[in-house]
Symmetry: D2
Subunit: 424 residues, 4 copies
């Protein structure tokens, strides 16, 4: 359990930070100007991608990367501080081909795709030539329980026919988006095992019947790549579009979510650090009623509290990354749930304090705080609502306790119980 950043990690981090300083931050304002006009800022992002590729800062998120793949292979633990650094500029992960949901999609293609599927989809994803999205959540279903999802993947002869509606399909509006990875019911028979009746299928976005209905803003914010509502109406794909086997949907959904969840957490930590820095800077700079904000004990408490919470969350995140590296994502499942809940809550808490120190400026687009706060709220649903993860953690804890009931109170027996053989 060694969390200290290795010399290699430190070197990679330094290179990434320099890249951020030299190339990404100076482009930040232009990115937002273009995004504000409603288009995806390709003119900003594409040249940066080329630079990052050249600099070896590419596909850093993927421990499974092979030597023949483009990019630099890192473990989850090594990637953690780099993802943290990327988090500070929310659009920057794409520059390094490390953005969700392409990362998760590349991971399951890597692990479960056929050679043909890899050739067609994984290769251009790894080079950053195309983008993809995942169709999971549905607007008409309580999607935290995957068994509620109703999109159908019906086999008809040598085709699958897909019908359904998805939303929060991040990336579907990206100009380079080409691939949809869609979750749906492939075995609608009532007697089907509820955890083996769904599948994931690969759908080229130019297939007839597919439509991006609208981009759904999150807390009024339109992401340039879109969190889209999409519809599939009698969309037909060949049989070899199936990812894994029919009925593998649940298993693949679990496999896909593990690393993705922790990447979000890594970026959250970085965003909270940014918010804390901003909070301190503003507190030093602003004066009311004769003294700097930083001289007020309540604001000092907020700063200290934020530092404590961020540090604790980072350690939890690093431990989870370390465990995933050592034992695999499945073994770290409960840890992932814990850091996922912790990080999402952290973000709204820390950013909320920073906003309060900024005053009204904190709720405007003149600082990154308004975005970070509203995105933090979304984080409490992303990859499953908090409550589902809390249940996972509790179930594990209760499992440990079973069989041991009474153990701890054996030496605290109250008088009436120790005397109870006399009856009452």
């Amino acid at each position: 359990m060694d969390f200290e950043y290795s010399p290699y990690t430190q070197e990679m981090l330094a290179r990434l930070q320099t890249f951020m300083e030299d190339h990404v931050l100076p482009a930040n304002r232009r990115f937002h100007e273009l995004a504000g006009q409603g288009a995806y800022p390709l003119e900003v992002v594409e040249p940066l991608k080329a630079k990052a590729f050249e600099a070896g800062l590419w596909n850093l998120f993927m421990p499974e990367l092979e030597d023949s793949d483009p990019g630099t292979r890192l473990s989850n633990l090594e990637y953690a501080p780099l993802a943290e650094a990327m988090g500070r500029v929310p659009w920057s992960p794409e520059v390094f081909n490390c953005n969700a949901p392409d990362t998760g999609n590349m991971e399951i293609l890597k692990r479960f795709g056929t050679p043909a599927q890899k050739k067609r989809w994984l290769e251009p994803l790894l080079t950053g030539e195309i983008r993809s999205f995942v169709g999971l959540t549905e607007p008409d279903a309580a999607s935290s329980d995957l068994t509620n999802l109703a999109t159908t993947i019906r086999r008809e002869g040598d085709e699958y026919v897909i019908n359904g509606r998805k939303w929060f399909s991040t990336g579907a509006k990206h100009p380079h988006a080409r691939l949809a990875i869609v979750f749906g019911v492939s075995d609608p028979s009532p007697e089907a095992d509820p955890h083996h009746k769904h599948s994931f299928i690969l759908v080229p976005m130019d297939t007839p019947g597919f439509e991006v209905v609208r981009d759904v803003p999150i807390m009024h914010h339109h992401a340039p790549e879109g969190h889209c509502e999409v519809v599939f109406r009698d969309v037909r794909v060949p049989l070899d579009a199936m990812l894994g086997q029919e009925g593998d949907g649940f298993m693949l959904a679990q496999a896909r979510l593990g690393p993705g969840r922790i990447h979000h957490c890594m970026r959250t930590i970085g965003q909270c650090e940014l918010a804390l820095e901003l909070m301190c800077e503003r507190a030093l700079e602003r004066r009311t009623f004769g003294k700097a904000l930083a001289d007020n004990a309540n604001i000092q408490d907020w700063i200290a509290q934020s530092r404590m919470e961020i540090d604790a969350a980072r350690l939890l995140m690093l431990q989870t990354a370390w465990k995933m590296d050592r034992d695999g994502a499945r073994a770290a499942r409960v840890d992932v749930s814990a850091i996922k809940v912790t990080a999402a809550r952290l973000q709204t808490q820390v950013v909320d304090r920073a906003i309060q120190v900024f005053g009204a400026a904190g709720i405007t687009p003149d600082t990154p705080l308004s975005y970070l706060w509203t995105w933090g709220r979304a984080m409490r649903f992303l990859d499953g609502p908090d409550e589902v993860h809390l249940k996972v953690i509790a179930r594990e804890e209760l499992k440990k306790a079973k069989g041991a009931v009474g153990r701890n109170l054996a030496h605290f027996v109250p008088p009436h119980i120790s005397a109870s053989n006399k009856g009452h």
Copy 2:
């Protein structure tokens, strides 16, 4: 301290609720469509205003309303449930000529305007013909301490010359906006009493040198009437544009804020009720893992907690309204601070729970919750940040305690003190 709604209040409330059901709610979707296109939805609002005027649901916010003024006079306590009902549709107060900041502007014009000022500005405001804004907060100053505000109102011969920059000027983008009420330094001499060196001045918005620079979105949300950044560059107005006397700025700011603050709180309570209703409806309707959300004890706790908090906040608000009616806004100053802080915190808390019950739909524009939550965050700055109000309350409490130090512990004297005449 009788808070029960009188038969008259109940009748007015019923009329307002019927009006909301019959006219406002059916127009809600169209309002948002038009607002989404960036224009102010006059075609929705103006006909409703005419209807509300006819129905006697007009200027309900103003206890000082005279018989010769248009509208129906209500006390603050009578107005409370009506404002609550309006709060449920955030754009509806204008329908009843009860929207901020015109309400506050009408109030200080009523109380402090000259006959000529009233003729020119108050009358068309009371009829709803024009709109106005107030220029108080400045982007470059920690504005919670009004002495930090730097806009200048310099007398030059028979004119005042105004220079400065304001933001969060709500309503400046409204197509009918005609009047700016601007706060600035009228006595810049270093020896000036810090609480008598500012003034409020009335500025027609068509005066040369005035400019609306931009509309500042709040948490990514653009209000159709705008929360604008505006600039005054050598803006010249005649001497009779001064509101009250030179140096009255502080006093007027206090007078203006009292009722306005409590109106926000009334609407907040209504919005929290709406959020709680939505939360319950969704909890009944959605099922995960084999049961309705409403059957989960954590969600039940959120519902109960919300009910308790809303009820307590409403009582605090009613008590404050009642005290303002009886003793005046000044006497209720500390109460206003208390309900202001309570209501703002309530809104983010209750709406946050409702969002969590809704799942991802709660952060989209498909429910009112995303707006209510982000607006609730803004409420913690509106009319002064929480911290300023907490300080007001604490100061009052400490004042009461002074002189009584020791009183309560007299009968709890610890041994070593009671024995201390023996010395140690």
Copy 3:
């Protein structure tokens, strides 16, 4: 809904406060000295009872008091500020014959006792001659669900035979305790209606087979009157010891708890006021790092927060009292649950802040804070754990929402639903 203290209430309150100042507070140290020696401080309490009786400050808690009964009849609303004042000295209610659990016991005897039962037990309770306790909670059962309680009340010929173990029997150790009111299963048949199988029975404490096993300290604190564990072994009482009818246990338990719960809340408010006063006094008095504690913004926030929370809780309590007076305890059931939860949480919160301002002195017996804080924790169980009450409130709220599902979102229909007749 008029909560203002009437002139009569104000006069009674003034008399009570004078009595507290003149007689109770000066006896406080002596009371604790004697209690610390393990005996009930009769020599302090009895003379004060006589004085209070004479002063007409007697049985103030009972709206059902008849003219022929000793004491002064007040409504719940009138009693509220008096109970608040008593709360400041936790042992003082007995001085005014207003202490739990005798109050609740007197109430059910008044409403449900036979003339003989009243003669034997109610009369000496009303005069303060004897004390009583109630045997409800059991150490071996999750007692928040009354159907779990296992004490048996078995009819044998012309007697009832009682067997079982109770704890948290407050008052059982009082030297004047004579009566136990015991809850148990009177109809053990499996087909018995779970809400009509229990009864309350009156048991003279000198009946053979009854034993006080031990006094259970609450958070290490031994109350002089005891929160006792008691045991009933084949305790035999005649048939006329049954309170109400066989099977009335549930109904009586509900009837008994209503007013008792709100009395606790009243006293809590008074205790929180005391804690807030102490917090302010100490904050003014103590200096660290060159300034008074009161000059620190975090401590100011605690003071303000406490003031806001206390005021809101008091209004909720007064509203509940008013509703009980007007509509009866049953109609106010949900309100009672709400104030019960609110008050219990308030007490630990406010006192916790006061303790922190006091520093280590706050956790010693040199201030009342350590008792108030630990007692506040107990309040979260007393008369039912918070969670049971939250469930009551939530159920009511959900009931209101049923049938209205969808109402509030009708005008927020998202695009894909409004377009859904076209199918997808």
Copy 4:
């Protein structure tokens, strides 16, 4: 930064846990019985000490232990899980000679004592022959600011004369207590540097003029070793009783507190684990309203939340221990403050939830929870109140931010500032 328990640590932990199971836990009830009778349970503790000494489970807390000293040397990181295990039985650390305040006293004697002082005091402390206490906090001073402390250490000829009153002198009532280490003003001159005017002095407890005035219960709980109020009246000691140099008081206080604080945190983590285990066991066992408590989503949330918080706190604690081992206590000063605040808050939070799951039993002495909760409250003062530590953390954070003001917003410049060379 390798936090994984080394094989050696794991072996030591296993030995300690076995010892706890075999010897300590079976003695727990007897310990409490004797302590309840008011005496120190020497008959329980002394034989266990002998056993632990033999087993090599002795003086585990002291990384500075030399080969010639009795006991087993461990680093802070190695000690952490052992202290955690000891924390589960609050009186057990003495069994291993690892109890506060003797540990801290041994540490400063080790580092700053003269050979003679070590011979006389350190040696018997290390063997467990005698006990000691530290006189720091004073009842009449806000002791979190050490400059407020008023006890005097006045030089008179070849003696120091000590006058003053201390409290929270833990251990002063222990039957083997022999040594007081007392903090006081040695240079009362007004021009003295406030951080070099205090000293620590060694006072044999049998010196005339010294008196234990009383044992001060913490939240009604009397520790058998006492948290005593003591008084020094013209207590005379020779010049060689001075620890370090005159004026070293501040420096020594800091040196003394570092490791002690983190030991408390280690034990806290163990106590929170115990509380969580108890919570789970009870939740599985108890049923209300037809289902196990463990099946309620709110209780599951409490369990999960507790697990997450404990894990995060433990990592923070291990990181601090690791940093102290590598860089020394001084370098880890801010980390120690952070874990100190985190752990103290954790304890009341986690134990509070466990209590609520236990119902009323949780506030009785029949479970360890009532002690753990009230002790958790004391932890928020022990070794300095939270607020002092938060200030330390905030100061550090603000120091880092200074000089960098504006850095983070450089690429977020709002329009009016970027346009500001045009003036406004």
